[in-house]
Symmetry: C2
Subunit: 593 residues, 2 copies
């Protein structure tokens, strides 16, 4: 390993100097913690990630899950890693101490978990899906469900999944057909097919708990008739241990381009009317509840994408420092030694792009985690409300915009390695394949863009949008007298002004042009909003860097300059397209293709 999983300087910078995460200890829930316990947890995560997650990442890619005698076979290192994760207490890290948790802030948990994502995103998916499923039961399940189903997840005995999509209903959850029939004892008979369930079957845990969307017989069509069920692989015996099979049958495995360590399944429920589910919360509220898990998963997907970008950055940076190749333009003397790649301008461009997305994305992911902590624990209702609104707006942006840019970053990592980057001798080609999933799952990036423009930008009279703009404006004011931050601040202000103007114009035009035309250019709106947020986070980092001297701070300021000069000017181009209410995509007819 030439490069560390995460440069500790970046994590320190984001957590303590940009975000001031130490202030979380001021909340009563975290009062027993301090920066030292936080750092100890992060250090434990780093060690387990390096020892148990990283070493098998390439092996899991080369040996994808397969079926043998009807059982899913994973390389054994995956189960070992999940066990080590769980035994260190990470499954319950943010849960109450009296449930066996560490009562950690979400922020610190995420800073710790960044190491598992950096080491091995596909293996990390098993615990992270489980944590999200447990959170869903905590938020909406009964006390009994928390005891019976959630508690074994916190102990790592049961793993969790999301069972939403179906073969005919991927993006369109409105068309979910799986049914639930109420039985005499209050449970439901579940019947239907699910597709793309990650971690849907394996032998690495005693049980698997599928958080499943289904439609109760007689419920309305569409998303308003979906309910949420706990559907386990095995029913429980009287001691709470996995017992008899519950009629969840594995139909097949999906063979993916990357992300191979995460077994991905097609499942059928109750083919022989033998599958039972327990409803979570009220009937027909399933999608609303599931959004709890989906929003967490969306940020999680983005964080995974960002850490893949981060890994590609560190790997290609190490290579660019070591590998001699070529000379400066104009230097035609072949008797001089070759320069390291990092001396070439275009290599520096590709490093800066990666640095900007990876380090900026890491900071933003932690920033969102801080907002989750404040939303959940701040005593002031207006702060809790504001943070919730900001999360509404920023979640689709981190998911879509950052997963797209993270893939560009991994592209650049390969390009720096040249031909070697295209071989399986270096990890960057794997990062690129793994990362290609992230714009697709947990709602395609097009869905995120429609969510952003069609819902988040306007809901509650634009309250979420206004909260984000206010935060950006605060940053712009903070940067007022900091010359090192002036350029990124000004570029961000221009993007911010465009975003405000375009949002206003589109909102005004919406009643006249209707939703189809309004949302046709949602991808351009996403890019405009993403660029604005990109500028915002780099302004914040520039402010923090300006307080420090030295090479590290210079690097942050250089990345901010790169963002200001090379990336943010695209905002105007996207804004002008949106301003024209361009109808190219509406007008083009199917028969013209």
């Amino acid at each position: 390993m030439a490069a560390p999983l995460i440069d500790p300087r970046d994590l320190d910078f984001a957590l303590w100097r940009v975000l001031d995460a130490e202030q979380l200890t001021g909340y009563e829930r975290f009062a027993d913690h301090g920066r030292e316990t936080f750092e100890a947890v992060i250090e434990t995560a780093r060690r387990i990630a390096e020892d148990k997650f990283l070493p098998h990442a390439a092996k899991a890619d080369a040996n994808e899950p397969y079926l043998e005698n009807g059982k899913v076979v994973l390389i054994p290192e995956i189960a070992d890693a999940v066990r080590a994760f769980s035994e260190a207490g990470f499954m319950a890290a943010h849960h109450d101490a009296d449930r066996g948790g560490m009562q950690l802030p979400w922020t610190i948990q995420q800073a710790a978990f960044a190491h598992f994502k950096a080491a091995n995103v596909p293996t990390a998916a098993y615990p992270f899906l489980t944590i999200a499923a447990a959170n869903l039961i905590l938020a909406h399940g009964s006390e009994e469900q928390q005891r019976v189903w959630m508690q074994p997840m916190l102990e790592g005995r049961f793993l969790g999944t999301m069972a939403l999509s179906e073969p005919q209903a991927g993006s369109s959850l409105s068309d979910v057909r799986t049914t639930a029939r109420l039985l005499d004892d209050g449970t439901y008979a579940i019947k239907g097919s699910k597709m793309w369930t990650s971690g849907g079957e394996h032998e690495i845990s005693e049980n698997i708990v599928h958080m499943t969307l289904a439609r109760i017989e007689g419920a309305p069509e569409g998303v308003k008739g979906l309910s949420l069920f706990i559907v386990p692989r095995y029913r429980l015996d009287e001691t709470g241990k996995a017992g008899a099979p519950n009629g969840v049958r594995l139909i097949g495995l999906n063979h993916k381009m990357g992300y191979r360590g995460t077994v991905n399944t097609a499942l059928s429920f109750g083919e022989e009317d033998d599958c039972i589910g327990w409803i979570v919360g009220e009937p027909n509220k399933g999608l609303l509840q599931m959004f709890h898990m989906m929003n967490e998963a969306r940020v999680g997907v983005a964080f995974g994408a960002i850490m893949l970008a981060y890994r590609g950055y560190l790997e290609s940076l190490a290579y660019a420092r070591e590998r001699p190749q070529g000379r400066h333009p104009g230097d035609k003397d072949p008797t001089t030694p070759q320069l390291p790649l990092i001396e070439h301008a275009d290599v520096k461009r590709m490093l800066l792009q990666q640095k900007a997305v990876a380090e900026g994305g890491l900071m933003l992911a932690l920033d969102l985690a801080m907002r989750i902590d404040r939303m959940n624990h701040d005593p002031a209702p207006d702060i809790r409300r504001r943070e919730g609104l900001m999360l509404d707006f920023l979640t689709p942006i981190i998911k879509a915009w950052f997963s797209d840019q993270a893939l560009v970053a991994n592209h650049n990592a390969i390009q720096i390695f040249g031909g070697y980057g295209y071989t399986r001798d270096f990890p960057v080609e794997r990062f690129y394949r793994d990362n290609r999933l992230n714009p697709i799952h947990e709602g395609t990036n097009a869905i995120q863009a429609i969510d952003l423009l069609g819902r988040k930008a306007t809901q509650n009279h634009g309250a979420a949008f206004a909260a984000v703009i206010e935060a950006i404006d605060d940053t712009i004011i903070q940067a007022a007298d900091i010359p090192e931050a002036a350029e990124i601040r000004d570029a961000t202000r221009i993007a911010r002004n465009w975003l405000v103007e375009i949002t206003r114009e589109l909102t005004q035009a919406a009643p006249e042009i209707g939703p189809i035309r309004l949302l046709a250019n949602a991808e351009a709106y996403m890019d405009l909003a993403g660029l604005t947020v990109f500028g915002w986070i780099w302004t914040r980092q520039a402010i923090a860097a300006a307080r420090e001297g030295g090479d590290f701070a210079q690097g942050k300021l250089a990345a901010a300059r790169y963002v200001a000069r090379w990336e943010l000017p695209r905002a105007e181009q996207r804004a002008r397209l949106l301003q024209s209410l361009d109808a190219t995509l509406v007008d083009v007819q199917e028969s013209w293709f």
Copy 2:
């Protein structure tokens, strides 16, 4: 197969209606041909491509070449395909009739060959490298070399390679270390290591002819000391058949992300002083000569990238028409049937992007082929000169800009398929992996950008640049009274004006700022030039489409609108960066990363 290899309407449109390739029959060399013979050749290629190249494309990807008892094992279908290609006369398609060739225009040969690339780029690499190697011997080799080495290539008995790169010299050919020592009989003893040689070893042909760069002992350092050699795998017996081994040893195979059917090798020459080479042309002119093959290979790489984009387009188009998913924004009635994907605006955006790159790229590749024909066969010296100049400027653009955009196209193809696109059940993930090589090989895209700005834009007092601008201006004038072409024409003119202005400003600034800073932003210059060329080719296609009615022409005009509205506005952004002589990439220090 839901989709054809190439929609014949696109090929017809490009060849006969945009490019008017029938005029080639006016050249004496092609006088025996007519549109009918041209179309018969293309039809033969289509048939062989469908029968012999397409069916094993997925299998070759899943079964990459391996070593068994020291021999390279390829799936047998690859040899069958190469044989069928050769037996149909395609190895010699553009060669003289008295050499067994068809004396086809390069344009028609390329239109035919597009089908092999569309069907299976990795298998097509074997014949295409051979054709390029044969062309190199034709251009620079002696009569005897043509008879002894080239003729068996035209017959498909020998296959050819390019052996340039070395482990320590990928982009930097200046640092090639392979040596050549003159022997008494006029041949050379070759010694050294070569890396990344595609088709470097296999058992599918009687012999392999490596076109090899090496440095004659005592020759100057750097590129000025490189000479070109024919280095066969086997020496020839007195009848011209492959005989004794020639000391070319396989060191290992490179295991790639994609493009797997093309075996890629590390070779060592003359480890035991047992490797002989025949010099081609004069000593120390090797790189100049090799550029003949490299320019052909660069356009070939681009054409492969474009055909991968084209295949992804047709596959995702067919899927978008078939797959129902979701409803229009605002239509919340879940009892209505789901719409086909193609009805969604963002899917149309991704289809238009693919269509613009794939169909535009196909037309540009054929346009360059026409220029090669005119350069070689036009009786007027000024036309021959002009076409050569235009090829100089357009070659790095088609290689770099189109291979980048083709990868974006393949990204979009996957995105339209959603989760299915990420699985190996559909070919689009393979196209994406195959295509990732194209920005790397035959000179990375950064090298192309430096070549474009540092050499092609300014050489001969900007003659190549001026020739291209003149051609663009001709197109703009032709579009003057065609309302359907007005929008793409105007957008192209804006990009063209920026390109001219920026080229002028950079040329003026060059002596002061020096080559390092001049070339630091070459990537932005490449994008500006690429966008201008993109606008140019779509203006030409819009002019042709405006003469026709119907859905097909409407589709071309819609793609032109997409290019004008969604893509070309980026030109201004890139121009302003270039205009600022931005020094971000020069100033950032290695220690800041």
